[in-house]
Symmetry: C2
Subunit: 278 residues, 2 copies
């Protein structure tokens, strides 16, 4: 693991790091904020999964999480959203919603993507091991959140690994990728024509198929330009009601899909996570 | 004035606007955050002047000021740092420290810069008039802050217009441009060989020449890579002590010149401003 940069911020250290990923076969860059802490202390870890087109840098620059993580004693990890680099296949037309910047947190089974696009295993296995080895992290206390495609990632990783994360929340998540254009394109190209494979990466379908967590927290802007075509939080609401999952879904009037929305409600999410991380 | 974008954030509106500037002879872009407020209310205005290479976007993205401005009821205005566009002369070698992104908050007297580089008059006259006309701003209650070259701007505008600003503060300011390479290059190219003209745009020299305000607030990172060559806060400390200006100069261990430093201490600055804006 190589240090790209470290900067003191809010009493802690905001770092950016690079490592050669065995899962993706590429170098991967991620950011970690470590608050000031007592020598030898181990801190809980909040995972933040970003949305389409993002790298670690978007939330690192605009997420306004450091003040809260410093106050609450939380490590904050922001991975990239896809493999990148020479030889990594991208969307054939260079579209923003597939390929580079759009890994959708799945392990691709289809060529030419299967070799590099292993973001599920990267986020669920490889990067946690690296974090546990290199940072003062208490890996028994992890939680996960994300935005848009990263909200999809947070929900599906959270539901898929229900003993792993003490809290799961999302900003404007894609809750039912099987049912919306972004998800249909990505799941089709990464996973092929297998409906069961798609449903294992669709939060609503996972709940319908029996996946259970005790509670979820979602903020959704009512002025979000992707609300009706891509996000459709009412699908999650219905699935959680049916399954008995305590969903806190807040519809925020006037807020859009941007980091202005995320940064406004980041405090509420981090306090909710901290209360559950102990 | 044309609206480039508006986004709801922390209950208020973060806007970006463009207008044709008579001073610079170019279109100029700036950002304004207006907190939620009672109909008809007029709010005090905090000016934030950015450093070398920046536009309005740097602090708008990374400054972490909106939460505080929402809480304290402050309008936050971030101008660009220079004219830009076709025909605007830049540094001959394209260097970052002169020309585009580096207006130094002076009205240039030298060719080819004199026509466009009128950032003093732009920030002191033209833009305040536009803000007063188009936003719910109480122009009797203004304050000013800035970073690096923008800290120089905040100090010199504050000292030059002592009845204008109720509070003046800076993050890692260039306090004595006449004495350091960044300032010597810029003042020479913009203002020519006239030492008196330089001293009218040098905070320490202005104080030595009799400019007075009651107090100043400066944060300076001790790990700032520009501390000894370009910033030299001890010169401001000496001038203020001699002049009887109450300078609060905080040397912050471990902090560098970046927005990680600025965003960490933005809260302290905004609370200090709010207390003085009434």
């Amino acid at each position: 693991m190589e240090t790209v940069s470290t900067n003191k911020a809010h009493g802690g250290v905001q770092g950016v790091y690079r490592h050669a990923s065995a899962q993706t076969g590429t170098d991967m860059v991620f950011s970690v904020f470590v608050p000031e802490h007592a020598p030898g202390a181990k801190l809980p870890v909040v995972w933040y999964l970003s949305g389409l087109t993002c790298t670690h840098a978007n939330v690192t620059d605009k997420g306004e999480y450091r003040r809260l993580c410093a106050e609450l004693g939380l490590i904050f990890v922001a991975p990239d959203t896809s493999p990148r680099g020479e030889g990594v296949p991208d969307d054939a037309a260079g579209a923003y919603d597939f390929g580079l910047g759009a890994g959708f947190y799945v392990d691709a089974s289809q060529e030419p993507y299967a070799k590099n696009y292993r973001m599920w295993s990267y986020v669920a296995e490889e990067l946690p091991a690296l974090i546990g080895e290199n940072f003062p992290a208490d890996m028994a206390r992890q939680s996960i959140m994300g935005h848009s495609m990263g909200g999809h990632g947070a929900l599906t990783l959270g539901l898929g690994l229900p003993d792993r994360y003490k809290a799961i929340s999302a900003f404007a998540p894609i809750v039912a990728p099987c049912e919306v254009p972004w998800g249909q394109k990505a799941l089709g190209l990464y996973l092929g024509d297998d409906p069961a494979a798609w449903r294992r990466h669709d939060a609503v379908a996972m709940i319908e198929s029996g996946a259970r967590v005790s509670e979820l927290f979602v903020d959704q802007g009512e002025a979000d330009q992707f609300l009706t075509a891509q996000l459709q939080p009412e699908r999650l609401e219905a699935a959680c009601a049916e399954a008995g999952i305590a969903l806190t879904l807040r519809r925020q009037p006037g807020y859009d899909h941007s980091y202005y929305f995320i940064s406004t409600f980041m405090e509420d999410h981090l306090r909710w996570h901290a209360a559950r991380l102990g």
